[in-house]
Symmetry: C2
Subunit: 405 residues, 2 copies
């Protein structure tokens, strides 16, 4: 069925996706599984850190009033290993041997580091040779005071953050749930993974690509299938997966051919967000909402599917985690020729170089929408605005550096 | 035991780590588990891609010799859905309805897209209204020719690369094995994870930090423990883990205190790489080789442990994967005051901003070696060269942007 479609700009399509209200929810997970998850609540310090006065050096703890007239001999009362405490009073002329990280006696105001001392053979005495400027004591609460925010919400946790939480005895953390996403590839041309290659047939290369793109963007793929171009099978699978997922991503079946049933479903949906975008590749990229679930219908062409994911899906998946897109928009210079022109803006698959504090972009291999050989090495998309004349080498344009590349 | 140590520069320490000969090996894994793994062999195309002449548009396939004198009516021989083939000859005045991605009849040289045609009601005839410049046919091997390299070795696979391999029916891939790493935290001050906080004691915050740093850098942590400062326990555990791991990372016990048994092990080792570096924090950072296994002995101070990992361990773990460090060295400007001076170069924990194509770095919170509150938000290290006068705001220096931050 050939129907007219009204193309909208990429910015407008992105706006429509961005205006979808998300129902984000949270879950409590062990810290051991929390690297790269996004913390959903502010975390307050349950106690001061350090929570005791701590020696910064190996040496001898003494009274502040004793810190003069060196060299001078002190009586050594004992030693404090890291992990131990000390409750004896310290008097003038007395010192306590102390290790890095150990508990500093209440009265002590200074730790003279071991390099500036000379202990007696029996270790009962120590001669302090010179003083030093610093106290070598980290006071209680120097880093964080009890009740302060130690970790503000909406941050992606990293190993350093896990260390901070662990230092406060925190073993669980509230994070945003990842959206659950179903991926449905359509096309009678798709071979099963173990089939031999055959004329007219292709392997489902978009499936594995989309699954891994979703996962590295912060979503969970718990349903993945490939369907032949059969209206009922597609409709039934879509209905079922919409009921149990936050997002359904399809690829293929959105063109204007007789078997493009996803396009038909889009037209009948509760809300059609768009089914034509002024973009190359992937002008047929379609999005609709049915039963309150977004169906993102990407082109089956590998290059268009790849580009469509980054333009529309990555920012949405990141939004479930209260995070901005990881695509980094920069100004860049086209550094090698690209002579094709188009009435729609093109998102050209490129590689980039950062040289003399400037980004240079190079068209990467074959940029047809159906080509895929360049998908591994493409690490940015560069804008070739719609025009009837080729963009000149040396022209500045927008480019988007891709994450994990 | 207080012994003299000879400090070396950071560059020299890095060089010594970098000169360690690695025994990297490979393994074959399913493609479904290969995202972000590094491919260890060149992969050649087992067939052309596309491996059949493919329609780029929905439309009608015709002979080249028939592409003139429009509008003109053609007899429709049938239709080719994606996934199907076609073996009938095509004669003058005949057209075949064809879908995007479908197999193009052998004789056909052009696909006129559907928008430029008007089919009859019974679909037995079609009137082609105008021609078009492009053939809308993707020839066999346009993307990749049989026998060409489709994916060169030593690349970190990404979702696009997985798509490329899948398109060629490849379901397994040879990748570099990840190094197996043991992490041993030492210190009698370390509480068990479920203990209540107590004076003189701390939680093992370095353990979870190092485990996650190793894993996100491309190593496997399959042994993790914390030990009290007891010479025999430390020695035995070290010996055992050296025998079964590529690298053993320890933290704590490398200072000059009486219970710094890791330092003692280093002095007795087959090869001491270094046990003093002209760096802050973490001048006591130690590395030695025993029974052909590297022991990287990091400081127990959280800030020093964090910095030491990035300076010495991250590049080494990446080298097992034939990959450069993910730390990105840039020139940056100190944008806020840092007044402390030191006789050793300082790797200051900072945040950065990229503004007007220039990196600005800001000292992040408290930069003592024992402080940890800034570890989550630190996303770069900036060099404060050794000096007796503070580095002025506005001075350019080296900075290293940290990965996954």
């Amino acid at each position: 069925m050939l129907t007219r479609r009204t193309p909208i700009s990429v910015a407008e399509a992105q706006k429509r996706i961005n205006e979808i209200t998300l129902t984000t929810s949270t879950e409590i997970i062990p810290l051991t599984e929390a690297n790269h998850r996004v913390i959903a609540t502010d975390v307050y310090a349950p106690y001061d850190y350090p929570h005791f006065r701590r020696a910064g050096m190996d040496g001898y703890a003494i009274l502040a009033s004793d810190d003069h007239d060196y060299p001078r001999e002190f009586t050594v009362l004992g030693e404090i290993q890291a992990g131990a405490t000390w409750d004896q009073p310290l008097r003038p002329g007395e010192a306590v041997r102390i290790m890095t990280g150990a508990y500093v006696p209440k009265d002590a105001e200074k730790v003279i580091r071991i390099e500036k001392t000379r202990p007696s053979a029996d270790k009962q005495k120590v001669t302090i040779i010179t003083s030093e400027r610093k106290s070598n004591i980290t006071e209680t609460g120097t880093d964080v005071k009890k009740g302060e925010i130690v970790l503000a919400k909406d941050q992606e946790l990293n190993p350093g953050g896990l260390a901070v939480l662990t230092a406060f005895g925190i073993q669980q953390v509230t994070v945003y749930k990842k959206p659950r996403i179903a991926i449905i590839a359509t096309g009678t041309e798709l071979l099963g993974p173990h089939d031999p290659i055959a004329a007219g047939k292709i392997f489902n290369s978009n499936g594995i690509m989309l699954k891994n793109l979703v996962e590295e963007s912060g979503g969970i793929v718990d349903f993945e299938t490939q369907l032949p171009d059969e209206a009922n099978v597609i409709k039934e699978t879509l209905e079922k997966q919409m009921a149990s997922h936050d997002i359904v991503i399809t690829d293929g079946g959105v063109s204007v051919g007789d078997f493009d049933y996803i396009g038909d479903e889009a037209r009948k949906a509760d809300q059609l967000l768009f089914n034509k975008i002024k973009q190359r590749p992937g002008s047929v990229t379609t999005a609709f909402i049915q039963h309150k679930t977004l169906v993102m219908a990407l082109s089956g062409n590998p290059g268009a599917c790849f580009t469509g994911f980054y333009l529309y899906m990555e920012p949405l998946i990141r939004r479930y985690q209260h995070q901005p897109s990881r695509l980094r928009k920069v100004r860049a210079t086209l550094a090698a020729p690209y002579n094709k022109t188009n009435g729609f803006d093109r998102y050209l698959r490129c590689t980039y170089e950062f040289k003399n504090n400037h980004f240079l972009v190079y068209p990467n291999g074959i940029n047809r929408s159906g080509s895929l050989a360049n998908l591994q090495t493409t690490n940015c998309l560069a804008l070739i605005p719609h025009s009837t004349t080729p963009m000149k080498v040396g022209t500045e344009t927008d480019a988007w550096l891709l994450p994990f590349k």
